[in-house]
Subunit: 661 residues, 2 copies
């Protein structure tokens, strides 16, 4: 009885399995959620693998793709007294499982015992016969070629002794180890996303404002024309707010007025009308063919089209009639609209994810992703995911990735960090971070240090602005503020985004003094933009994106290091990747020039402080010769409030001359 | 298909369960191992419990004893935005499971929504009818008394409104919450040990050396006589090295000589002869009746008898013949003796825990514990557990605790911390720590800070000396060293031990210059001790143990705080428990007097630095009036190398006089 109870607790492992496996990394919540990696990167797994007594142990990393039954062995090697490491370089996007297997290495144990005896001058002949027995035992479970080699070794061991056991012989023995009484760790998972999941530059624009012709509304074809501009700026993801039919019932007016006037076009987030819902296109934007062409043309320029998934309905969305039970109701039988008293959103019906027909609702929402997936869209920005259940997302995103393992989902959850983190855990590929509200040096340093703790599962996406977020800093700081925020977003984070063309055109007027929404926002009306303006920041944007393309150090997170400066308004950090070191120094005070001593952690950067080194500002195209850790940087916001230096580790000296002796 | 796969991953929980539960504490390795607590203490459980959107949540802690099916609810309350805490005060020793259950609190959600509406001046009549519907739904699943109360509330709600929902009404609603779509956390376990597991003072002595009569060997009856002495010294655990028959084959001689001479008594750790094995008593020590009487007499004085479990055999142990397959063999068929080349331990056969008859062997070893358990022994010191498999201990200790849940096991694993920690995880109650080799201030501070991280599962036991460990510090430092080590062991750790009477009699001669073993060690011969000697430390030992008894702060771990001093040889720390604050200052240099400024972290100690406070040295019976954080302490090792202060927070001032105005 007691045996049985215990055996159940230990799963299927032999009770005698002596090897302990602890602290497997990476892992999220003990393996409850997958870690995230990208194609082209690697998964480095470590674990403590150890045993009672003095016996030798051996360990392998095992990996398999989702749905496969067989595990593939990958070697692990010792990196500390009991710490083992192995690495896996996934060859495809998808979901993989991994685990660590450890076992007593009988042959090594025997060998180290014998060596100790011989070193102590003791006789080892009895032990040699133990070795022969062990080789025979290994041979029993080996395939013929290995078996005959083992038998050969066994035959020669008594006469030739340890000299026989060269590297080749030990490799044969190791390859035939029956791994008797092996211990298997818990199973962990990793989601391997496409490379763009970890490195991307997003540009958001409203298609209906993309018309070059002031007399008509923009279309998907206009967006296709705009691709050249987006590509010139250097963005790789073009995100379009919802492109579905817009509800007419309780439609909001310009500047979010309670009711629309004739001609008001409504908010794209009020989804659905008699013209269709989440799988329809707004008729004025064009046809599905236009979309297909846009997606293809964009991809031809290295740009992914990202669609907005906002899971909510306008009152005239077809689902409201077809599936009345997908919505919660008030006491009078009317559908509950969204509300945050005193604010009412009578143009928005949220779904009731706990409805009895939840399977029908959840399937329909998953099918929305799959529908656009069939039109080539693989990138989705998800609106307010934190107001929908975590288990829905966990199921839905996994279902979509089963069909499109290269899909990328950006979570727009401006809520408590715990909630945003949970959404990342349950499957979102990227997460809007709180960068827009982190403007002082202290705020930025603290926040990005916090973020760095969760990079195994949460990829921050730093947005300079969005249609909902025109920060006070941008409103008041003018061009210097815009410049600094661009440089910071694009260099602090490997994933960043900007909402244009308002950004590059310097539009910063809020709807009302305390608002973070734009005046005459595109959310509620069609706008026409003159892109060719002398004050446009487009050249700076292009330059910054070019620098990102050129520098591997800027294409990943987790390599960020802040350095001290003598001025609280001057922030200084580096990102490094192998030899590539990018140093950013920015004056976050848009109102005044600053000179600051910056103090590089030269040891961490691997800089030889005994020699001068060159720093090259890739924005201003200036070069400086620095030496030591402390150097002076001057930043005048009216001229150039931020510098992005490339650090050249090695400077020529006279010793480089051929004739130098 | 996909549904099914997913459902399996989510266990039996409803897929719609929206509440997330994260970071449940305490837990060891994600719940793989139990945490440890003691009877009289409490288990404080915390978890993040949260949900999508703005809905209210509710959480309870659930606990059940091992083997029970039903969970008992214990309340949790919010201690942070999403953090919940609950506590359980176990009423019995044993093994308990606990988990956290969270669910959307539908009534609170409704209530907070309605309040928000009303606060915003909106109409709430429709919402009141929602509330009525909710009360009816709660009533459906409630027992009659609650049901009728709910129906009463439902009837009055439309007319009386929110005023109806006073504390009592809300308690009725809360008690009847059907907890629809609740989320259940992983299950964690806690082992509740007797109080002595967390606070104990051990004294080790060799029974055969306990004879007051120089002409004969000591017996268990002599040990019984010695109880008065042990009790006078203030110890609560009397640990006896193995009391079994000692092997004659290959017996070691005095001072660990390779072979015994006539009359040599052998090492008690070479267990077993034709007179019996692990469940027999050495005939010269007495009878099982003597043992029973000793255990009972000891308990009458508040002392537990601890036996030594050394799982190994002398060559003439009965099991060697009866169970030849329990031992590994060399190439010539002989049994493998213990060996660490060039050292051979031919008097010791280790078990082969992987033998085919492992079930037979494991059962027999468990039965050894149970045998002594039937003789009233509940405390076991386990010899070299790190040379036996972890899974054996996990199974065995649990089996023993199933029968004797108050059993205490002390692990003697002087090996790598990872291995010692694993043994604590798999079930050892206490663990010898590396205190004997931590003698400088820096070593002690670093080591005890390390230990503090693992207190949820590892209870350190700090030993001043053992028959195997006569540290260089004790060998060379004389009486000051012994005094300091006593004070440090007894105050740094709630569990400590000493091997006597050598300790209090000041015996410090090693067998040879580099050895940590005693000359003429009791391990290999019978000794006779004169306890009544003027230089004995017994009065100091008694005093220190008395102070431990009087001060709750010294009866637990995890409350240790080091404070800065101006001298690297002067260590300073406090232990606190509520109002009780004990301050220890010690000079770890046994050769010279030191004066040091100590700098108390007065804020952490809750000391009012605006007023003087009294410190009372309970060893020297001196009192000082201190003020502020910095005060001078003088420690002359020839007089008193350490002080144990009691801090009196509040000093009388003139304001305490009755006539003071």
């Amino acid at each position: 009885m007691a045996w049985l109870r215990y055996a159940l607790g230990m799963a299927e492992q032999d009770r005698r399995a002596r090897v302990a496996i602890e602290r497997v990394t990476p892992q999220v919540d003990g393996g409850r959620f997958p870690v995230k990696r990208v194609l082209g990167g690697e998964l480095e797994v470590e674990a403590f693998v150890f045993i009672d007594g003095q016996d030798a142990v051996q360990a392998v990393l095992q990996v398999r793709t989702e749905g496969e039954k067989d595990w593939e062995d990958l070697p692990m090697h010792r990196v500390g007294p009991d710490r083992w490491a192995g690495r896996c370089v996934p060859g495809e996007v998808g979901r993989y499982a991994y685990r660590v297997v450890g076992w007593p290495d009988r042959f090594q144990t025997w060998l180290q015992g014998l060596r100790k005896r011989l070193d102590a001058g003791l006789d080892g002949s009895l032990e040699l016969s133990d070795g022969v027995a062990l080789l025979h035992r290994y041979a029993e479970t080996s395939d013929p070629p290995l078996r005959s080699q083992l038998m050969g070794l066994a035959e020669r061991l008594p006469t030739e002794g340890l000299a026989l056991l060269d590297e080749n012989a030990l490799a044969v023995v190791s390859a035939s180890d029956p791994r008797r009484l092996a211990t298997v760790s818990s199973v962990y998972e990793v989601v391997v996303d496409p490379a763009r999941a970890a490195f991307s530059a997003w540009y958001e624009l409203f298609p209906r404002s993309a018309s070059p012709d002031q007399t008509r509304v923009g279309t998907l074809r206009d967006v296709q024309t705009r691709l050249a501009y987006v590509a010139e700026l250097g963005f790789d993801t073009l995100y379009l707010p919802p492109i579905h039919p817009i509800g007419r019932v309780n439609r909001k007016g310009r500047n979010n007025r309670i009711s629309a006037e004739a001609g008001d076009v409504g908010s794209p987030w009020a989804i659905g009308s008699e013209e269709g819902g989440h799988t329809s296109l707004h008729p004025e934007l064009g046809s599905l063919d236009d979309l297909d062409r846009l997606v293809e043309a964009a991809r031809g320029r290295g740009i992914e089209i990202a669609l907005d998934m906002a899971f909510q309905c306008a009152p005239d969305h077809p689902w409201v009639k077809a599936h009345p039970d997908w919505f919660a109701r008030r006491g009078d039988g009317s559908i509950k609209y969204a509300e945050n008293p005193p604010k009412k959103y009578q143009d928005i019906f949220p779904f009731d994810f706990e409805t009895n027909d939840w399977r029908g609702l959840w399937d329909a929402l998953r099918d929305v992703f799959l529908f656009w997936g069939e039109h080539g869209v693989r990138t989705f920005r998800v609106d307010n995911p934190h107001t929908k259940p975590f288990p829905f997302w966990e199921w839905c995103l996994r279902e979509v990735k089963r069909v499109h393992p290269d899909a990328v989902f950006l979570s727009e959850a401006f809520t408590r960090p715990l909630v945003a983190e949970r959404l990342a855990k349950v499957g979102f590929t990227q997460s809007y971070d709180y960068f827009p509200w982190k403007n002082t040096k202290g705020e930025i340093e603290a926040y990005f240090s916090d973020l760095s703790r969760n990079l195994d599962f949460l990829r921050p996406s730093s947005w300079i602005n969005t249609p909902d977020i025109l920060s006070e800093y941008l409103q008041l700081g003018g061009r210097p503020a815009a410049t600094v925020r661009l440089v910071l977003a694009a260099t602090l984070s490997a994933n960043y985004g900007v909402y244009g063309p308002v950004f590059e055109l310097g539009e910063v007027t809020p709807r009302e003094p305390d608002s973070e929404e734009y005046l005459d926002s595109e959310k509620y009306e069609v706008r026409h933009w003159m892109l060719e303006q002398p004050h446009s920041l487009r050249r700076l944007v292009r330059r910054v994106n070019r620098i990102r393309q050129d520098h591997p150090a800027l294409q990943r997170d987790g390599n960020l290091r802040f350095h001290n400066t003598s001025d609280d308004a001057v922030i200084c950090f580096t990102k490094s990747c192998d030899e590539d070191v990018v140093l950013v120094v920015a004056n976050v005070d848009p109102t005044g020039a600053r000179s600051a001593w910056i103090e590089l952690d030269t040891e961490a950067l691997g800089l030889d402080t005994g020699r001068p080194y060159q720093v090259h500002d890739m924005l201003g195209e200036e070069r400086f010769l620095w030496s030591g850790a402390r150097n002076l940087v001057q930043l005048d916001p009216r001229v150039q409030p931020a510098k992005i230096f490339r650090i050249r580790h090695r400077i020529r000296s006279e010793a480089d001359f051929e004739y130098y002796t």
